[in-house]
Symmetry: C2
Subunit: 141 residues, 2 copies
């Protein structure tokens, strides 16, 4: 799996705002508090399936079944649960079309879109380095 190397350069170029984000700006009293809102949201987003679902929706709306098939390995239980969390967080939008059979579409909200814009560069980097990391490349240095 290799995403073009040009991606890295492009990522930086269009990296949304935040010229220099420093840890200090994220810390409270020099620490990462266990009960701060950031931790809560981070836990939702980095939950086992959160990132994958958000990514799956990054290209367009998807129906329940499409999501299930796109994010391989997710169970219906976790799909429903994770979607409910993301929806409650205002990151994902659920639209029901009362037809027979019923149709439900999931889409990113504007807020979710912003978040995904930060997620994609990260995933691009991971995709670029995943093979080297997994196949046991000697630790840094």
């Amino acid at each position: 799996m290799t995403v073009s190397n040009e991606v890295n350069a492009l990522e930086r170029a269009e990296m949304p705002s935040t010229a220099t984000v420093r840890l200090a700006d994220l810390l409270t009293d020099g620490r990462l508090p266990a009960a701060c809102p950031s931790r809560v949201v981070l836990d939702h987003v980095t939950s086992r399936w959160g990132v994958l679902l958000l990514l799956a929706l990054s290209e367009g709306d998807l129906r329940w079944g499409e999501l299930r098939r796109t994010v391989e390995g997710i169970s219906e239980k976790m799909l429903a649960q994770t979607l409910r969390t993301l929806e409650a967080d205002g990151l994902v939008d659920r639209t029901v079309t009362a037809t027979v059979p019923p149709r439900v579409d999931y889409a990113l909200t504007p807020l979710g879109r912003e978040l995904v814009d930060h997620l994609l560069p990260l995933m691009g980097w991971i995709a670029d380095h995943a093979d080297a990391i997994v196949t046991g490349r000697p630790p840094g240095r």
Copy 2:
């Protein structure tokens, strides 16, 4: 977890012009395979404590005890386990100083530094929106 699909990397030989990072570049056969390296690395990074530890190390080396105090709420078990995973992935470097009492420093590898550079903007965004997301519940509907 069952892997129902075969990873077919050759299928994606041709890549459209990537002005931005698109999901298509991360997909295999239109899906997010359960057993691709990206998923493995993503699981490591987005593990409950992975992001927090990487972030904590983003400003400089830290000792075991300092890490434990900085990343509030982490247990010693998970600290050791997560650090070992990150070290095996070549993202974190472990340096032992044979003194009494012993001293062990943890630092980001060049690879880890690259990853954190992508993590910081994301965390910056989360920090900016966490309060609104957690407190208010204004779905993007």
